[in-house]
């Protein structure tokens, strides 16, 4: 079933392209059906997963270079495929009001989704890279055409940052392919090959940082806030929800499994960068005037946890990182949905001081409640998915680098502060809002699709928060696979 997530998405793109004129309703429906089918395929695939590594498709693609079309899935892939499915469906629900060039909007949207599914299911480095780059271009157009504040700048910045990152990855892949001399780009063959330490010493940071640029690694994160702010709601949901995870996933899947010795050499530096990202993102979010920038910087901060979890190199930290990818994908999607769709599309402002005077808490109670829940989840309150995820990362970090773990804990505290500040300013300002005033300037009510989307996301974060073992049972055994022998057990067994 799982490969169909990819195929269905691209079939959806094709169907949208063949759609005759501008028909926003039909376009939306096709997109929603495609995304739901994709999610269904993902869920069915997860339910039928036999455990361990499951090869899905393997066919010779370019025999001349030893490149295979090799799709497969382990627990980590499954978790992220599920995230992609949920994010894509809710993203469409929250862009139900797109009327301008709707057909193209959803075509780019589904192309992005297809690329993301592809990355998570590829077990051939070349194929993974193809899907990874495939996702760059739709992002550019989604932001440049349908975005808001400085959209063309934000879009170009994002595209160039991603492309520079993938250029670094490409050099690393080419070099690894040549050095291994195995005439294969399969992840398993490359992971088994003992690359010389001197080579890993420079190839690892190249590939890791190349991927981590997209995960918002400080100081290469600056595309993220501008990109998120410029993007239309659905695109920022995807951007924060799944695209940033592509970076973290690539860093884990390619950089860390191929070059474990390089990781050993650089882990302290990278851990430091991750913690700086956590604290810096949170602190900057504290002083933002634009509502969406708060969320944008909070994403940088939360992705810092993912990166910190990755460099701990112990199972608890690594599985925490993967869980955090899932959790942040859901929570960030929810936050962006509230800010971009529920608030901005109605008030046409994201300035926190202006919002303070609007009394949105009374005007849009559903939005206020959703944001409050999302905020609590984002702070890492127990009961929501962020709690087990960040806790695991912190425990893992405590084993690996205790000082950094304390600093990261500080980042959580600041996270509480900026979330509460944003919540208070946006929805519960001091302004006296009378009932007449509300009736004089009514805001359009929250629509059904928005409510469904919000409920799906809230439900997911709650379910995972209350019962994280649902996902951890998939994630943790994955680290016992031979693929991670070099990383966790010092070489092939």
């Amino acid at each position: 079933m799982l490969p169909w997530t990819i195929y269905i998405s691209f079939i959806g793109v094709l169907a949208l392209m063949l759609l005759p004129r501008e028909q926003p309703r039909a376009a939306r429906l096709i997109a929603l059906v495609t995304a739901v089918l994709g999610l269904a395929a993902a869920v069915a695939g997860i339910l039928h997963h036999p455990g361990g590594f499951q090869p899905l498709v393997r066919a010779h693609w370019i025999p001349g270079l030893g490149i295979d079309f090799f799709l497969g899935a382990d627990g980590i892939s499954l978790v992220l495929v599920l995230l992609t499915g949920i994010a894509s469906v809710t993203g469409i629900l929250f862009s139900w009001n797109v009327e301008h060039r709707a057909k193209e909007f959803f075509a780019f949207y589904l192309a992005l989704i297809g690329g993301v599914y592809g990355v998570f299911l590829s077990f051939d480095v070349f194929l993974l890279f193809v899907f990874y780059e495939l996702a760059i271009i739709p992002k550019y157009f989604l932001i440049a055409i349908w975005g808001s504040t400085r959209r063309e700048y934000g879009a170009m910045k994002l595209a160039l940052y991603s492309f520079v990152g993938s250029a670094m990855v490409l050099v690393g892949i080419v070099a690894a392919y040549v050095v291994s001399g195995q005439h294969s780009t399969s992840l398993f063959d490359l992971a088994k090959f003992p690359f010389p330490p001197g080579f890993q010493y420079w190839a690892f940071p190249l590939v890791f940082i190349g991927f981590a640029i997209l995960a918002g690694l400080w100081p290469f994160h600056t595309w993220a806030p501008t990109g998120h702010v410029a993007a239309p709601t659905a695109a920022s949901m995807l951007l924060a929800g799944v695209v940033m995870k592509l970076g973290a996933y690539g860093a884990l899947r390619v950089a860390m499994t191929l070059f474990p010795l390089g990781l050993q050499a650089w882990r302290n530096e990278l851990g430091l960068l991750a913690v700086i990202g956590i604290v810096y993102g949170a602190t900057v979010a504290l002083v933002q005037k634009d509502f969406k920038f708060v969320i944008g910087y909070s994403s940088v901060s939360h992705m810092g946890f993912v990166l910190l979890g990755l460099v701990t190199i112990n199972t608890i930290g690594l599985s925490g990182a993967v869980l955090q990818m899932f959790s942040h994908g859901i929570i960030a999607g929810l936050l962006f949905a509230v800010v971009g769709r529920m608030v901005y599309d109605r008030t046409h402002t994201r300035d926190l001081t202006q919002l303070e005077g609007m009394g949105l808490g009374r005007a849009l109670p559903f939005a206020a409640a959703t944001f409050a829940i999302a905020g609590f989840a984002s702070m890492g309150l127990p009961g929501f998915s962020g709690f087990p995820a960040e806790l695991q990362v912190l425990i893992g970090a405590w084993y690996a680098f205790p000082t950094l773990a304390v600093l990261a804990g500080l980042g959580i505290l600041v996270g509480v502060a900026y979330t509460l500040r944003a919540l208070q300013k946006s929805f519960f300002g001091d302004a006296e809002v009378t009932t007449e005033n509300l009736e004089a300037h009514p805001l359009p009510p929250i629509t059904i699709p928005e409510k469904i989307g919000a409920v799906i996301l809230i439900g997911t974060t709650l379910v995972i928060g209350l019962c994280p073992s649902l996902l951890l049972n998939l994630i943790v055994p994955s680290f016992d696979l031979p693929l991670f022998d070099g990383l966790l057990r010092g070489g092939p067994r």
Partner: protein, 495 residues
């Protein structure tokens, strides 16, 4: 060898040459009074038939043959010639859109004659043959560049092209004469044997000859610092001529350069790896390649005319393609051919779109492309594929071409010695995405400034561009269709 054998050997070239004459005759005798569009259509149709006949002949031609040390006819040359014929047909179909000249027959037959020159170039294995074929190609292209008599820039372009070209031909000839003096033969296999036996690999005279030859070919492929003609020619020449100069002529020039350097001057290859240097043509061409990639990509950022932008991008792509040559092995040659052919298809498509836009809006500035996606969704989609392929975005042919080149060149020297060039190439292709996206931004994001006439582009253009876009996508998704054949064919190449 009788004349009949010779004719059989040269049958594809002969067919195309006869087609050129037929096109000319039909146009002058029958079609004189017809409207230009109709004359172009018929001319291109006859031309395409001739090209198809030549391809068919090559398909049916038997075992590889040729004349030892003079003329090569094997699967590889047939493959490249087939690509050249396809590119020539593309250029002719693009010109159907044109109204820049009334001399339709002359224009199309010159295109075909230029193609004959390119085909000969691909097969030559003798210094004199190479030079003659090179001149046949160049002379046709000079005239093609000058064909727009109403536009002074066309004349300027042709004059620049001619002067630079004449100069570089002189350099090439001088270089080749030195080689002849050293080796005592004009045939490449004999030169190679002589250079290897006599240990002349680092002879200063040979190195001087190599540099002279490199200058001549550097001009043909528009590598820095011999690129100065390219922007003016691409901008000034009629768009179909520019398409042929950018596509077919490049494929042929790169191929013959590879034959000259790899199978002729193999003894004087030298090494251009990091910390491992010895003089020869590899370091020389590595320097040209690095300079082209940097200058072409950086200068393209500043352009606001799409034809000029494509010219600088062509300079950059010449730099990439040289990487395949630097690998100096079978993988390298395969990647070089794959890259130049897919680049040719892509750039022919891009010029096809430029031609349509130029006709509608009267110019090829970036602003003229604004809002194209609303008027011409299909052409815009094709242009998106072409631009992204040039930038090297998967799953398009340009991406796989680059990957193939990079692996070939990175694997060619010990200890990843050539990786410095890959670094540079990848970094520069990240730069290139910026200006390709600038074009796409005009097409998809910016609103149209002035509403041009609402007429649709012609069916022929849409079909051609669609076919090219499909080819670029197809060769990117299933490169093995071409790569598999190439790898089998390069086995026959004489290293």
């Amino acid at each position: 060898m009788s004349y009949l054998d010779l004719l059989r050997l040269l049958a594809p070239e002969t067919i195309v040459a006869i087609t050129a004459l037929a096109v000319l005759a039909v146009d002058l005798l029958v079609m004189r009074a017809e409207p230009v569009r109709k004359r172009f259509t018929w001319g291109a149709f006859i031309g395409a038939l001739g090209c198809a006949a030549a391809s068919g002949w090559m398909l049916g031609a038997g075992a590889p043959g040729g004349i030892e040390g003079l003329f090569v006819d094997d699967t590889l040359t047939r493959l490249v010639k087939f690509a050249l014929l396809v590119l020539a047909v593309c250029a002719m179909v693009i010109s159907m859109e044109g109204d820049f000249t009334r001399h339709v027959g002359e224009y199309l037959s010159l295109m075909l004659l230029g193609t004959v020159g390119m085909m000969l170039l691909v097969s030559s294995a003798d210094l004199l043959m190479i030079f003659i074929a090179l001149e046949l190609t160049s002379l046709s292209l000079y005239i093609l560049a000058a064909f727009n008599k109403q536009d002074i820039r066309s004349a300027e372009a042709a004059l620049k092209y001619f002067l630079f070209g004449g100069m570089s031909a002189a350099f090439t000839l001088f270089g080749l004469s030195l080689v002849y003096g050293l080796a005592g033969s004009t045939s490449l296999p004999q030169i190679a044997a002589h250079l290897a036996v006599a240990g002349l690999g680092t002879d200063p005279l040979l190195l001087a000859a190599l540099v002279m030859t490199a200058i001549g070919f550097g001009f043909k492929v528009a590598a820095v610092p011999f690129h100065f003609w390219a922007p003016d020619v691409y901008q000034g020449a009629p768009t179909p001529s520019a398409a042929l100069i950018a596509s077919g002529s490049k494929v042929a020039s790169f191929f013959v350069l590879a034959r000259l350097m790899i199978s002729g001057f193999g003894a004087a290859a030298g090494r251009g790896a990091w910390h491992d240097y010895s003089p020869g043509w590899i370091p020389t061409l590595a320097a040209l390649s690095a300079a082209s990639m940097v200058l072409g990509n950086v200068a393209a950022i500043a352009q606001n005319n799409v034809k000029r932008l494509l010219a600088y991008s062509a300079i950059a792509h010449a730099g990439y393609a040289l990487l395949g040559l630097l690998a100096n092995d079978g993988q390298g040659l395969g990647s070089l051919v794959f890259y130049t052919v897919t680049y040719g298809l892509t750039v022919a498509g891009a010029f096809g779109v430029v031609m349509v836009v130029e006709k509608k809006t009267g110019g090829a500035r970036l602003e003229d492309f604004a809002g194209l996606s609303r008027r011409e969704p299909w052409l815009s989609f094709c242009m998106m594929i072409f631009m992204l392929s040039l930038a090297g975005i998967p799953p398009l042919a340009g991406f796989f071409g680059k990957f193939y080149l990079f692996t070939a060149v990175a694997g060619s020297a010990k200890n990843l010695g050539m990786l410095w060039l890959v670094f540079l190439a990848v970094a520069m292709s990240a730069v290139s995405l910026y200006y390709y996206l600038k074009v796409l931004k005009q097409i998809y994001v910016s609103p149209a400034r002035v509403e041009p006439p609402a007429t649709q582009s012609s069916l022929s253009s849409r079909m051609l561009l669609g076919a090219l876009a499909l080819a670029v996508l197809g060769l990117g998704c299933a490169p093995d269709v071409f790569v598999g054949r190439l790898l089998a064919a390069v086995q026959a190449f004489n290293f």
